[in-house]
Amino acid sequence: MLKLIVRRLPALVFVLFCVITLTFFLIRLAPGGPFDRERKIPPAIEAQLLAKYELDGPLWSQFTGYLADVARGDLRLSTKYRNRSVNEILAQTLPVTFALGGIAFLIATVGGIWLGTFAAVRRDTAADRIAMGAALLGLSIPMFVIGPLLVLVFGLWLKWLPVGGWGSPAQLILPAITLALPFAAVIARLMRTSLLEVLNQDFVRTARAKGLPDRTIVYKHALRVAILPVVTYLGPLAAHLLTGSIVVETVFNIPGAGGFFVHSILNRDGFLLGGVVIVYCALLIVFNLLVDASYALLDRRIRVDA
């Protein structure tokens, strides 16, 4: 485990460096600056503003200065939300995004694995076809369709659940389901395919010949191996959940980081944008490392540090 982390570290730092560089320069390429308003501000004031946000001087020295600050953990000040630091904004909004993403992650994995197993053990029955049809439906309907439809049905017509906002557990249900549904569908399909393959292997036949009950075979022996493709998908899943949370936060009016992300692009708020992207990517990188490390625990045949 430690060996794996040490081996991967240079690549991880490199990826993060690329991410920071890309974001920094891309937002600079965009037409319009962070201080463009309807009324042109006097050049003297603009120069002062640029100096305050360390956006003056040659581009290269701006970039190295920014890198040094980021390395120290200072994501600088937002140019739009004056006098609020990016660290402060992220500290307020990220917990919201992570709570939503975390619950959706649980729903997607548990629900997906369950549905996939359910379908695989009932291969080629009506139950299997219905389950897989539902999965196909789940992955074809976009989140921004499911979300408003759920709001319409459960929020406005039946009035069972709140239509949006943040704070109470009831307000979490619809957004978490909306975010999780497409990915639960993907996992269910992965799980079914993989489990069917495993159920044809020799060790399963041995277990059957031994007279083990079906439940034990599936849940104690086959599932352990069949779950590996799902584990491989967890890395991309985390990335998709973070992307998806932007839409779900918009639909349900949730004060997470997603809204700030969208506005930071429109406002050319480079440091806020950079902060969101850096934190997202850093988290995903760490998460992927954990996923890789967990292979070894699930399947002793795989040596990750080799």
């Binding site: 891309l26 390429l29 965009a30 037409p31 196909l136 074809s140 309907i141 369709v145 319409l152 918009t250």
Partner: protein, 296 residues
């Protein structure tokens, strides 16, 4: 490999017929439908927020525009972006996978590691930044070159290119896997022994053999690109008014759902059209893939 008869066999299933029917209807309606509307339907009218009637089967929106007309126009943009973006991803993914698989060894390792990394990065987020960074420049360039079509469609062009740029990863992986297996086969070995150039081996011997699976994954890439585009447009960062895609129509629909006023038709009809199209594409792609890889 895909046998000639297998596509026909798939189409004999009733579900597949329905799916193909949906695609044909949507594509045909998007292609010619908007032209059939009388002039008065194309402009904002006096009838605001009319629920579905015989005159306006999908109702009208805030500006009194016919929703059916807008859904069909949106279908045009969404389908074109989906097809063109998938084509871009097809070229990129196939080329990348061919090179990685054929080169093998260290090159292959490095190239595939890069794909792994890109898989775990939130790619759409970079696309968002990318589009907003380059759209203005492309439009400036187009107006300097005096290409009026590119001025009005610059955003679509950039969307197509960038979405193609992020959706090629799966294609690259599949192609590479196929090439790894193919290049050990006797006919490729023979070509090598005969001293044929690498380019010739790749184009003449490998490419034709991976074509079927590439085409199958193309059918699955189209809905993926449509989904990506509508995601961006939903956030207001993709297609910009006055143009509309399914994503931007859905954004309007989602806003018109609140406790004070429920204009459900603004949401339901674009949602149903888009979902049916994506479902049909995914279903047909799945069935085609099953015939190539019966284990799935």
């Amino acid at each position: 490999m895909l046998e000639p008869g297998s596509a026909a066999r798939i189409l004999r299933r009733p579900t597949a017929k329905v799916c193909l029917g949906i695609l044909i209807v949507v594509a045909a309606a998007a292609a010619v439908g908007p032209e059939l509307f009388p002039e008065s339907y194309r402009e904002p009218g006096p009838l605001q927020y009319s629920p579905p009637t015989w005159q306006h089967p999908f109702g009208t929106d805030l500006n009194g525009r016919d929703v059916l007309y807008r859904v069909l126009l949106g279908a045009r943009i969404s389908l074109v972006v989906g097809l063109a973006g998938a084509a871009v991803s097809l070229f990129l993914g196939t080329a990348y996978g061919l090179i990685a698989g054929y080169a093998g060894g260290k090159v292959d390792n490095l190239m595939m590691r890069l794909v792994d990394i890109m898989y775990s990065v939130p790619r759409l987020i970079f696309i968002l930044i990318f589009i907003n960074a380059f759209d203005g420049h492309l439009r400036d360039f187009a107006s300097r070159m005096d290409w009026p079509w590119l001025v009005s469609y610059s955003r679509i062009v950039i969307l197509v290119i960038t979405l193609g740029l992020i959706e090629w990863l799966t294609m690259a992986r599949i192609v590479r896997g196929q090439v790894l297996a193919l290049k050990e086969r006797p006919f490729v070995q023979a070509a090598r022994v005969l001293g044929q150039s690498h380019t010739k081996i790749i184009l003449r011997h490998l490419l034709p053999n991976i074509l079927p699976i590439v085409i199958v994954y193309l059918t699955l890439t189209v809905p993926a690109v449509i989904l990506d585009e509508s995601f961006l447009s939903f956030l207001g960062l993709g297609i910009q008014p006055p143009q509309a895609s399914w994503g931007s129509l859905l954004a309007e629909g989602a806003q018109s759902i609140n406790p004070l006023k429920i204009y459900w038709w603004l949401l339901l009809f674009p949602a149903a059209t888009m979902s049916a199209t994506l479902l049909a594409l995914n279903y047909l792609g799945d069935r085609l893939r099953d015939t190539l890889d019966p284990r799935r």
